[in-house]
């Protein structure tokens, strides 16, 4: 049996099944095709015509095929609808935007169902194997048919379990990301400069680094920035934020250490996921007592507000050189 014949019979088997032929009938029809091709040496297309059309010759009388197919499509549509609703909910929670640009749900579900069915058919069509290639008689063929049925069931069940587990894991990950996100992060590149403030025991601190959100989510805005060991409220505090579309661009700017600050832009600044912000901040560590050296480990603590979640903080460790 040549490759062409095998392929032809696989496709014929596919179309016979699609037309509602049961196992025994499919085996019987394929058996004739196989022996005929073996005897005559003809090309299958020449002898029988295209498999789809040949299968049509036998399609009369398939009582349960349509109801069964309809049930399958309804079940698939229900599954897709459930998945879509869940995904849409998660998407809305995360980004405050509906999935698929707000396309009507029925359209998305219908498209998905059609694509899945076409995909399944294509898979069956191109990977199908004829069932009677090795059968010796009808009993043998029936046994092979049953075996294939069991195998197909097992594969389908396995795929189903895989999909359930995978979507469960995906859902859990999304849920986790929602609960945890958005989080403000800082890049490892933190530039800090310290110096003595004239006519005071305060230590001036300047910081330049890049911060960003790790995930999209509810409205997020910066609240305040403070040094962890307390800062001098009377000292000048100024800050600026500059957003960039890429981390590389933001880092390039952050590496430039000449800047001038005149006002405090940080409070109430709205952060967007996908942007990288060059944060420039300057303030002073309040020494209070003249002889108390500034602490060697200092943090700049950013407080930010995630709508519906509450206040969160980001600690940016600074290296402070005590040179006072």
């Amino acid at each position: 049996m040549t490759d062409l014949n095998e392929r032809y019979m696989a496709r014929l088997a596919f179309w016979l099944r699609a037309g509602g032929a049961d196992g025994a009938r499919t085996i019987s029809i394929l058996s004739d095709v196989r022996t005929h091709l073996g005897d005559s040496g003809e090309s299958p297309y020449e002898a029988f015509g295209p498999p789809r059309l040949y299968a049509k010759e036998f399609s009369a009388g398939s009582p349960w095929s349509w109801s069964r197919r309809a049930a399958g499509v309804v079940a698939l549509a229900a599954l897709v609808t459930a998945c879509f609703s869940a995904a849409d909910d998660v998407a809305y929670l995360r980004t405050q935007r509906p999935l698929w640009w707000g396309a009507p749900q029925w359209a998305v579900v219908a498209t998905t169902v059609v694509l899945l069915l076409l995909g399944w058919r294509a898979l069956m069509y191109f990977t199908g194997r004829p069932i009677t290639s090795l059968a010796v008689d009808s009993v043998d063929a029936q046994r092979e048919w049953k075996l294939r049925g069991a195998r197909r069931r097992n594969v389908s069940l396995g795929l189903f379990v895989l999909v359930v587990v995978a979507s469960g894991a995906w859902g859990a990950q999304l849920g986790h990301a929602y609960v945890e996100s958005p989080k403000l992060r800082v890049t490892p590149y933190v530039y800090s400069l310290t110096g003595v403030v004239a006519n005071s025991s305060d230590t001036a601190v300047s910081v330049r680094t890049v911060i960003y959100l790790n995930a999209g989510g509810p409205w997020t805005s910066l609240n305040e920035a403070a040094l962890s060991s307390g800062q001098d409220p009377s000292a000048l505090q100024a800050s600026s934020l500059q957003g960039f579309g890429s981390l590389a661009e933001a880092l390039r700017v952050a590496h430039n250490h000449t800047w001038s600050l005149s006002q405090d832009e940080l409070s109430g600044f709205t952060l967007h996921y996908g942007s990288y912000y060059v944060l420039t901040w300057s303030g002073a560590i309040y020494s209070g007592l003249v002889n108390q050296p500034p602490p060697s480990q200092e943090n700049l603590v950013l407080t930010y507000d995630v709508a519906g979640v509450g206040l969160k903080t980001l600690r940016i460790p600074l290296s402070v050189n005590s040179n006072g």
């Binding site: 019987s28 036998f58 009677t132 059968a135 043998d140």
Partner: protein, 116 residues
């Protein structure tokens, strides 16, 4: 050069009887039927025509099938007439011969070389 096929619409009516006529002679299989038809002057009956026809005859219980193990490997399907099939064949073959007789007489009257 293969012999020219008969028009499809002619074959449609007579092919079931011709096939049954061959099956009635003894249990046989699909390709052998096609070859027998060819020998009897009905060439080029494709598998795509023959097997659906046999399938219909089987569904009408005019022929029955059984599987026979091939000399090597996969088995083949053999077709044999049922009792009902033999009766149907005899009845309809008689009628067709009558029909053919009438049509032959009619056509012959006006065919070149036969005009009186």
């Amino acid at each position: 050069m293969p012999k020219e096929s008969w028009p499809t619409e002619w074959l449609k009516g007579i092919l079931p009887l011709c096939v049954l006529s061959i099956v009635v002679e003894g249990e046989t299989y699909g390709y052998a039927i096609a070859q027998a038809l060819e020998r009897e002057g009905i060439p080029n009956v494709k598998g795509g025509t023959l097997y659906p026809l046999l399938n219909r005859l089987e569904q009408e219980r005019l022929v029955e099938t059984r599987w026979a193990a091939g000399p090597s490997g996969p088995g083949r399907k053999l077709y044999a007439p049922t009792k009902q099939g033999r009766l149907w064949f005899e009845e309809n073959a008689e009628r067709w011969l009558e029909f053919a007789h009438s049509t032959t007489a009619l056509l012959r009257r006006n065919t070149k070389g036969n005009k009186t």
